[in-house]
Homo-oligomer: 196 residues x 2
């Protein structure tokens, strides 16, 4: 596992209703930033085309100042009905959500029913659907197939999935310099082995 | 072709920097609304999972009034670096842009270099990439494979593609009640014929 001794503390983007600022806090990076940088790397190396969808915003009022760009002066965050990330990798449709948790479990409150339903639809249509979960206190990041989360979301007595279960059912994502989170390596192993 | 005599005039959404309000103006519907309704139909009939990406917004200032939702008080529209729509259909990654034009040609100024590059990447990675073009004065909507637009964008002397060329290279999308624009029928014919 790599720490980043020379990494400067970055300013957090204000484009998100950020409840997830504490992933690997010593590095000053969020899971979202790490995934964004990994996606940029995948894009420039022509490995995959995966983007984060913009946060949906309900715009209420826009001003049109003369000679300037339209200025939104009243707007609100909307609840996303899909996951944050999707794209194409080796000809396959990829779809996932990324979440941080500070405790040693993944609370299902972190994911909405709409997102669970969306992930199930992706599986039904033949896509690759998973969740990336960062345990910030452990500095470990796992990829877990969406079907496990969906199953427990509907059927488990618990309102969360334990770290141990995620460790067993999921796959540790290796951290590095480029890409920071090589989650496509896990995708290769878990979903595309027969194609190699 | 179907008109919609009983269709009530809908209020335009303010969530877009809408320069495209005049598609089939007698119906009061925009191309974007027609595609959204078609996508909802495809979703509920379990035919495909295709969404419009939210418009990217640069948020500058957010107020947090007590007991109320966070209120965005300064924000600006950003230029999208990808296309508006993507999703999965019959296990295939689908990616497209939708544009209206009032004249009898499709001006390349309607599409950004970033979007052209993005569409090329999707083709390179084995996805299905196209553009839906609505000729509002004719009430005709065409699906044209992105490769034709990309080619002419880079190589044509003209700064647009003519209606006649789009009619020849593209495919007319049938309009109806549900779905309003059955563009997946064209996708079947153009891209998935061998799979049937």
């Amino acid at each position: 596992m790599v720490n980043y001794p020379n990494m400067k503390k970055r300013q957090m983007s204000v484009s998100q209703p950020s409840t997830h600022k504490h992933y690997t806090a010593h590095r000053g990076m969020s899971l979202e930033e790490d995934i964004s940088l990994s996606n940029e790397y995948y894009l420039t190396t022509q490995k995959a085309v995966i983007y984060k969808k913009p946060t949906p915003i309900q715009i209420v009022k826009v001003d049109y100042p003369r000679r300037e760009a339209a200025k939104i002066v009243e707007a609100y965050y909307k609840t996303p009905s899909t996951t944050d990330y999707n794209g194409i990798y080796k000809g396959k449709y990829i779809d996932f959500e990324a979440k941080e948790t500070r405790i040693k479990s993944f609370p299902f409150a972190n994911i909405s029913l709409h997102q669970v339903e969306h992930l199930q639809r992706i599986i039904d249509h033949g896509g690759i659907a998973f969740i990336i979960i960062a345990f910030t206190s452990l500095n470990e990041v796992y990829l877990i197939d969406a079907s496990y989360i969906i199953h427990d979301y509907y059927h488990s007595q618990r309102k969360s999935m334990t770290y141990d279960k995620i460790k067993t059912l999921g796959h540790l994502i290796s951290q590095g310099f480029q890409p920071r989170l090589d989650y496509l390596k896990v995708v290769d192993e878990v979903y595309l082995k027969e194609d190699e």
